[in-house]
Amino acid sequence: MAELRPWQQLPAGGVVDADAPRQRTGGWRTGVKPRADLGACVNCLLCWLHCPDAAIVVEDGRFVGFDYDFCKGCEICAEMCPAGAIELVPEETRVD
């Protein structure tokens, strides 16, 4: 959590800039996290569309992985994946 600022430093009316700091919600995961088998992925992007936390990283139209800073581990991506390319693994598991 960023430093709490004094009232003088806040923009009038509580206006928030779009580039304000994002809260990291990765800590919400309860023991498991998604892992992808890029080989199996067919780039349908259904996981990306359905991810509630915008934690699926897509680069020029292709699925490339997860943003664990935001992923809450809800498993929806795995559920939606037609190719079975996503599985949930223990938090400890190293993914690269």
């Binding site: 709490l4 600022r5 004094p6 009232w7 806040l10 923009p11 009038a12 009316g13 509580g14 206006v15 928030v16 800039d17 779009a18 304000a20």
Partner: protein
């Protein structure tokens, strides 16, 4: 009537005077819902728009709650926005008035003061203004149609000042000002355009840089965000002074946030707001003629309430009656409490007087009775013109 040049005073009701000010300011958007006694304002303005004499858009919303909501949307989007209401209308939008203030939406509102229900009544008192006295909006009470016109011009600049950015209510007594025709001298449309200038916001919503406006604040930030409004209110006092000077240059008229009338050497004085001040001034003059040391303090700017100036202005006064045209049932009358707070620790003898609820008339002899009464009664609240068995 000719409106391009102000050769001579016109005979206008306060409502018409405000409508002309709106026509000359020519706001972008006016979301509004009808209610007596505000209707003359919006009806006359609607006609101006229908005839192409004003080119903004009216939004005939389905309730006052939506009127203020649409006004916030419009004002923060980046459009100069005005509206008008009264009584129940203000009560229905109260929730959103607080939010307009906290989102710093510089909306100008013409308020035709009218008693709150119940019972339902269409005539004047100040209970509606009092309902929102905590909300963070500025409230300017006027004495007559001319001041209603001038104050509308001031309100626009005051609301939009970068250090202020708050809604400003121009409070006109219902019927006694909104519906009474009095001599009013208008500025030319050109002069008004020069005076009010363009509408600018620090962070308009309609802007290439996206912003989120109206966020959720937890205990870690709410207090700080609210406090900006305290600062804005403090700034408003000085800004208003400057604007009064600036407008006086155009009009030759000055309506001060605080009008001290024959107060200098006054031992007894009354404090009040709105159209009754005129009646009271006549009484003060009469009593002065019988060399009675009486005076009057008219509060023009009720919000922000210039407490220090009030304290100073009344420093010489030993007996003071505060005339409220509203009550706080089960508590101290609003203006009385405000003045008492300003004078705390002082020895001034204070009296609370309530008058004119629901349009009950205030005649010169009523005001006289207040000045007389000092001698006799003290403590308790006096109700002027109330029919009582005792």
């Amino acid at each position: 009537m000719s409106t391009e040049t102000a050769i001579r005073p016109e005979l206008l009701t306060g409502g018409e005077a405000v409508a002309h000010a709106m026509r000359q300011i020519d706001p972008d958007v006016v979301p509004v819902y009808p209610i007596t006694p505000q209707t003359p304002i919006i009806q006359v303005f609607s006609k101006f728009v229908a005839d192409g004499r004003a080119s903004g858009e009216l939004v005939n919303v389905e309730s006052e709650h939506s009127a203020m909501s649409a006004a916030i949307g419009s004002a923060l989007a980046g459009a100069r926005t005005m509206t008008a209401t009264s009584s129940q209308g203000l009560a229905l939008m109260a929730e959103i008035v607080y939010i307009a203030a906290s989102m710093r939406a510089p909306i100008v509102v013409a308020l035709g003061n009218r008693a709150l229900s119940g019972p339902i009544n269409i005539h004047c008192d100040h209970s509606d203004s009092m309902l929102i006295r905590d909300s963070g909006v500025i409230q300017l009470f006027v004495e007559n149609a001319q001041e209603a016109y001038d104050a509308t011009l001031l309100a626009t600049r005051l609301a939009e000042h970068p250090d202020v950015l708050l809604p400003v209510f121009v409070c006109l007594d219902g019927f006694t000002i909104t519906h009474s025709a009095e001599p009013v001298t208008l500025l030319t449309d050109e002069e008004v355009r020069l005076f009010v200038g363009d509408y600018r916001l620090p962070h308009p919503l309609l802007h290439s840089e996206p912003t989120s406006q109206g966020p959720f604040a937890m205990p870690d930030y709410y207090f700080e965000l609210r406090h900006q409004q305290v600062a804005a209110m403090e700034a408003a006092v000085g800004v208003l002074d400057a604007l009064v000077d600036e407008l006086a240059a155009f009009t030759g008229r000055r309506y001060e946030p605080l009008e001290e009338y024959r107060l200098d050497d006054a031992a007894r004085a009354i404090v009040l707001m709105g159209s009754s001040a005129g009646t009271a001034k006549d009484v003060v003059d009469d009593l002065r003629r019988c060399s009675r040391p009486v005076g009057l303090l008219r509060i023009g700017s009720f919000r922000p309430f210039p407490a220090d100036r009030v304290r100073r202005a009344l420093s010489g006064v030993s007996e003071l009656a505060v005339l409220d045209r509203a009550e706080s049932l089960g508590g101290a009358a609003p203006l009385f409490a405000e003045v008492a707070a300003a004078l705390h620790g002082e020895r001034t003898r204070l009296r609370s007087v309530v008058y004119g609820l629901g349009g009950r008339d205030l005649h010169p002899h009523d005001v006289e009775s207040v000045f007389e009464a000092f001698a006799r009664r003290n403590g308790g609240t006096t109700y002027l013109g109330l029919r009582s068995e005792r």
